[in-house]
């Protein structure tokens, strides 16, 4: 299997500027994280707000530079501080954002949303761009006729499909998915997760899947990396991590995640009934 993306001891620091009463402060959002993802596999990065998981996602998606460490894409080191990402790099890594209401330009037609990456990174003629965009719409489960509509005419789930279609236009090797289903309803979430699974099989895509939801992670991930306050407290295969979590933080995450297990519900209902009888 070929490794698509590899991070070696990646760090990211922010300087919070000081004021009259405060000193400037250096905040380490990501503290030395290493990982690698193979083609066709999914690495889930799990954490709560402030864990640095979105910062890491932006580094991997070549949006922000890392402060330290090394990022390799297809085995080649990338440093966007020194050179802007080349067309070739851009074509390899694409991203899907959390909020489908914010990630589509309200003044841009769906067709322009989809053809923009092609127009900017390739020399594809306009006619072919349109054909490919329409084909991609069909692939993500939307009729090609939506090509000339605006984003506000679509529901959240449909918009997320459009955002996924945009990310796939350049035939990337790696998709960075930043909480792609957490803004969606349960029923729509299931459809989008299915779509992502199908697309991964079809294009042999590598996913870096950012999430706070352990049940989603368990469903989609091959490997899991748990982040807490900028550090990777635990990483390993899904089976190992879910069957035998090692780090106390991982365990507390599991303990806090609500379960719909019938026996647990039965126990709770009985406990409540007993308590009421006692009163």
């Amino acid at each position: 299997m070929s490794v698509v993306v590899e991070g070696r001891a990646l760090t990211r620091d922010y300087l919070v500027p000081g004021s009259l009463t405060r000193k400037a402060k250096l905040i380490q959002a990501v503290k030395g994280i290493s990982f690698s993802v193979e083609a066709g596999k999914t690495l889930a990065i799990v954490g709560e707000s402030g864990s640095g998981k979105s910062t890491l996602a932006r580094i991997v998606a070549l949006i922000d530079p890392a402060s330290g460490g090394e990022l390799l894409i297809d085995g080649k080191p990338v440093d966007i501080l020194q050179h802007r990402p080349t067309r070739e790099m851009r074509s390899k890594v694409q991203m899907v954002f959390q909020n489908p209401y914010g990630s589509l330009n309200p003044r841009q037609k769906i067709g322009d949303v989809l053809t923009e990456p092609l127009a900017l990174n390739t020399n594809t003629p306009a006619r072919e761009r349109r054909e490919r965009a329409e084909a991609m719409l069909v692939k993500v489960g939307l009729p090609a006729e939506v090509y000339n509509r605006y984003p506000h005419m679509f529901s959240g789930g449909q918009r997320q499909r459009i955002a996924i279609a945009r990310a796939l236009m350049l035939n990337p090797d790696l998709l960075v998915l930043d909480e792609p289903v957490s803004a969606l309803d349960l029923s729509v979430q299931a459809q989008v997760l299915n779509l992502l699974a199908d697309l991964q099989d079809e294009f042999n895509l590598a996913y870096v899947f950012i999430s706070h939801d352990l049940s989603v992670v368990r469903y989609i991930a091959d490997d899991v990396l748990v982040m807490h306050k900028g550090e990777a407290v635990e990483q390993g295969s899904r089976e190992a991590l879910f069957s035998d979590p090692q780090h106390p933080y991982t365990r507390s995450l599991f303990a806090a995640t609500p379960v719909t297990d019938i026996e647990a519900i039965r126990a709770r209902v009985e406990k409540r009934a007993a308590m009421r009888a006692a009163v």
């Binding site: 694409q94 959390q98 330009n105 841009q108 009729p143 509509r149 506000h152 789930g157 449909q158 729509v188």
Partner: protein
């Protein structure tokens, strides 16, 4: 919430545009004042376009036998001069009709110059931030610190009186308003995910500024442009009144007022009608601007 139930009807570009226009009109037309303003404004535009056909006389033709003739409904009025004549015997109505051309011309030129300057400056300040933003905005603050008419007067005094210079001066005075508005909108939009998404798609800074961010900042600018349009007409009239704007014999409303100053007691109509013309057009455009704000702002919030 079935996700795949998009109506697979193919909408043409024209149909979509019609739908959006209809929605815009729905919100605009709920504001009765705005509709009234729009009607008056359209009449004003038509008057300006067809001025030579509508005006009964040449606006600069002096009828030596008809000095200060009162309007037709007053004693001594003549059917040939419906709104009377001024001190050198020019027909008031014709001058007012041609004056509409000046007012619209001034409004359009001033707003276009101020708007394009403001957008460019505001985009750069808002997009790049840091020291560029600080430098630009402090300069804008300096301009804003002057009373606008006073600054325009100073500029005209430097450039020399005349309509062109008056328009340039007013545009310079108005430009910071547009720059600030653009900057604020750009700073807010810059944070949105679609901008990051466009960057991931490979868009460079210029494209991000002009194609991605700018179209989303236009609604407040359109409203500000309409409101500035009326202020520009007003300020140009004020400069004209002070002798710094359009020069006689141009039938500009403010200049007409200035020329008529000394006859205010003897022949009130020579002052009243240009004043009314300014009042009505400014009021109409302001009402229209309010309606535009109502129609455009909630739309931004909804999408």
């Amino acid at each position: 919430m079935t996700d795949t139930s998009v109506t697979a009807v193919k909408l043409s570009d024209a149909a979509i545009r019609r739908r959006m226009l209809k929605e815009f009109w729905f919100y605009f037309s709920r504001n009765k004042g705005a509709v009234l303003g729009l009607i008056v404004f359209i009449l004003l535009v038509l008057t300006a376009i067809f001025a030579p056909l509508l005006a009964p006389h040449d606006p600069t033709q002096q009828y030596r036998d008809a000095l200060l003739v009162p309007p037709v409904w007053q004693e001594g009025g003549r059917a040939g001069f419906i709104l009377g004549t001024d001190a050198v015997g020019r027909d008031m109505l014709s001058r007012l009709i041609f004056g509409a051309r000046y007012s619209l011309f001034i409004g359009i030129v001033v707003v276009s110059v101020a708007l394009s300057g403001g957008i460019i400056i505001g985009l750069i300040a808002g997009f790049y931030g840091r020291w560029i933003d600080t430098v630009i905005m402090r300069v804008m603050d300096v301009i804003l610190a002057f009373p606008s008419l006073l600054l325009a007067l100073v500029l005209v005094a430097v450039l020399g009186p005349g309509l062109t210079n008056a328009m340039i001066a007013i545009a310079i005075v108005y430009q910071p308003h547009f720059a600030r508005l653009t900057r604020a909108a750009v700073m807010a939009e810059k944070q949105r995910e679609y901008v990051t998404a466009a960057r991931v798609a490979g868009a460079g800074n210029i494209r991000l500024m002009l194609k991605t961010i700018l179209p989303n900042c236009l609604a407040p600018l359109i409203v500000q442009a309409t409101l500035s349009f009326s202020s520009a007409v007003l300020d140009a009239a004020a400069l004209g009144f002070l002798g710094m704007g359009a020069q006689p014999p141009a039938p500009e409303w403010g200049t007409m007022l200035a020329e008529a100053r000394e006859f205010i007691m003897r022949a009130p109509w020579v002052v009243t009608f240009p004043g009314l013309a300014i009042l009505i057009s400014v009021l109409a455009i302001n009402l229209m601007g309010d309606g535009l704000r109502d129609a455009l702002d909630p739309k931004l919030k909804r999408s």
